[in-house]
């Protein structure tokens, strides 16, 4: 009874147990049931992380992918914020241009990936560009939504108290935009990760995609799983950083 009560109060413990159980099933399946050409047990993947890291070029590839993600995210935030402000501050531009932005955002961007490669080459620029186009739109949409949700009475009262345009921007619009801007940044980070990783997997000479292809073609599942685990860890850390920032900055109200 008390054990049950403990588990009910700590769902995290049960969650950890579920994850461990799944890993155990995977371990058993990979060790005894499935051809080791295609899958590797988690214990062996964990043990191989060191040797994956020592494979010549892998640390550089992870660094390069991280660099692409960081640059793409920075550009996406700047572009998304400036386009969002330019479109969202005036009701006329918002009503005219938002449908176009939503239309472009709704297109399956993956179909134009080959064009990005032809334009920007197979190096880092094409990954960054593809990450930027995936990450910018959610930020634009969030910024415009944030601007739209400001209560008109706040603007009117600020103006009646003699605030000029800059004061209104600085003291009314920006503070109210921050929560939706940060939730846009979180969605933007998801988009940037998706875009950069898609482009990396499509074609890559030195980034992470090069090594996933290499390990797949050599039927080396242990190293492949290890590399993908590192990549997943990078994605989780980046997501978590933006999510923490969102929690931190949306609390002021």
């Amino acid at each position: 009874m008390s054990a049950q009560a403990f588990l009910l109060r700590h769902p995290g413990v049960v969650r950890l147990g579920v994850v461990l159980l799944l890993l155990l099933i995977w371990e058993i399946a990979a060790r005894w049931l499935i051809d080791p050409m295609f899958i590797s047990p988690p214990s062996r993947v964990l043990a191989s992380l060191g040797s994956v890291w020592q494979t010549p070029g892998v640390p550089a590839a992870l660094r390069l992918t991280f660099f692409e993600l960081a640059v793409a995210f920075a550009i996406a935030v700047v572009l998304g914020l400036s386009i969002g402000l330019a479109v969202g501050l005036q009701p006329f531009t918002r009503r005219s241009l938002m449908p176009i932005i939503l239309l472009i955002y709704g297109l399956p961007q993956i179909t134009i990936l080959p064009i990005f490669i032809l334009f920007f080459g197979i190096g880092a620029p094409s990954k960054i560009a593809f990450g930027v186009t995936h990450g910018t739109f959610p930020i634009i949409i969030a910024v415009v939504a944030g601007l739209q949700n400001i209560k008109p009475i706040l603007l009117t009262s600020a103006r009646s108290m003699g605030a000029n345009r800059w004061h209104i921007l600085r003291w009314v619009i920006f503070p109210h935009m921050i929560p939706s801007f940060f939730s846009g940044m979180r969605l933007g980070m998801t988009g940037v990760l998706l875009g950069v990783l898609l482009a990396e997997l499509y074609v890559s000479t030195a980034g992470i995609g090069h090594f996933t292809t290499l390990f797949t073609e050599n039927f080396d599942p242990t190293k492949l799983f290890g590399l993908v685990a590192m990549l997943a860890a990078m994605a989780i850390v980046l997501n978590e950083m933006v999510r923490r920032a969102e929690l931190r900055f949306s609390r002021w109200r």
Partner: protein, 256 residues
């Protein structure tokens, strides 16, 4: 007065939107004919239009379309069945929701497409890896929305139905499903959209057939006008499929 202002404004907005599209087309045309942008980077829009007509007339898209649609249907059927069933059973108890909901949400927040190499290694280059990946990716929005849908059905409705003597089936059919369906349907629509995207994406990255694969083939053959035409074709197909799903979602909502 106000309505006339609104009308004038919305007319202005339409004008800007149409003007934007025309400007893009004119700039594209001028860039290829006057400003000497390389044909290998940007084909002439007229040539693209002719190629598009040719693609449609020749019917060469049929085998690829069939492969992609088959993958999509199987992947979505798998995700829909497993997502709604798992979601329903998780949603039955408060404790299981608290255990599994954050777990699914955490996995959903990372780009699952990066596991594609594992899927290719395990399932091969053929349709199986696309189906498996598409099903995995679209499982998460479906399961999360099913948990949210069934989990948030008003408790008083359930208690009231029970006290009036509803059986398990009656409770499910007349209280739980109508209450949860709107949320589940929007999850299904989202799952469908990202299943389509991830299937075209994985065809682009590593495959033997399908719409995404065909675009890559044309890109590698530097057949730019035809590639642009094919991209336009795939975009239209995707838009049609998404429109169909939105329509079915609206119908389903009304049925509930």
């Amino acid at each position: 007065m106000a309505t006339r202002d609104n009308q004038a404004q919305s007319f202005g907005s339409r004008l800007v939107q149409v003007g934007f599209l025309i400007a893009v087309l004119v700039l594209w045309y001028l860039a290829t004919t006057r400003w000497g942008v390389n044909r290998l980077l940007l084909p002439n829009p007229v040539a693209v239009w002719q190629q598009l007509l040719d693609v449609l007339r020749s019917g060469e898209y049929l085998p690829d379309l069939r492969v992609t649609l088959t993958e999509l249907v199987i992947a979505f059927a798998l995700a829909m069945t497993s997502g709604t069933i798992v979601g329903f059973f998780v949603s039955r108890r408060h404790s299981t929701i608290r255990v599994f909901d954050p777990l699914f949400a955490a996995i959903y927040s990372i780009p699952i497409i990066m596991f594609l190499p594992l899927y290719v290694l395990f399932f091969g280059l053929g349709p199986a890896s696309k189906i498996a990946l598409g099903a995995t990716i679209s499982f998460f929005p479906i399961v999360l929305s099913t948990i949210a849908g069934f989990g948030n059905v008003d408790r008083t409705l359930v208690t009231a139905a029970r006290s009036m003597g509803a059986s398990d089936f009656h409770l499910f059919r007349y209280v739980l499903v109508p209450g949860a369906l709107p949320v589940i349907l929007s999850g299904l629509r989202m799952g469908f959209t990202i299943a389509l995207l991830s299937i075209i994406g994985s065809e682009t990255i590593a495959s033997l057939a399908g719409l995404g694969h065909h675009i890559v083939q044309l890109a590698e053959g530097m057949d730019m006008a035809r590639m642009f035409a094919y991209i336009a074709f795939v975009v239209v197909i995707a838009a049609l499929l998404n429109g169909l799903v939105s329509f079915l979602e609206a119908r389903g909502r009304r049925w509930a």
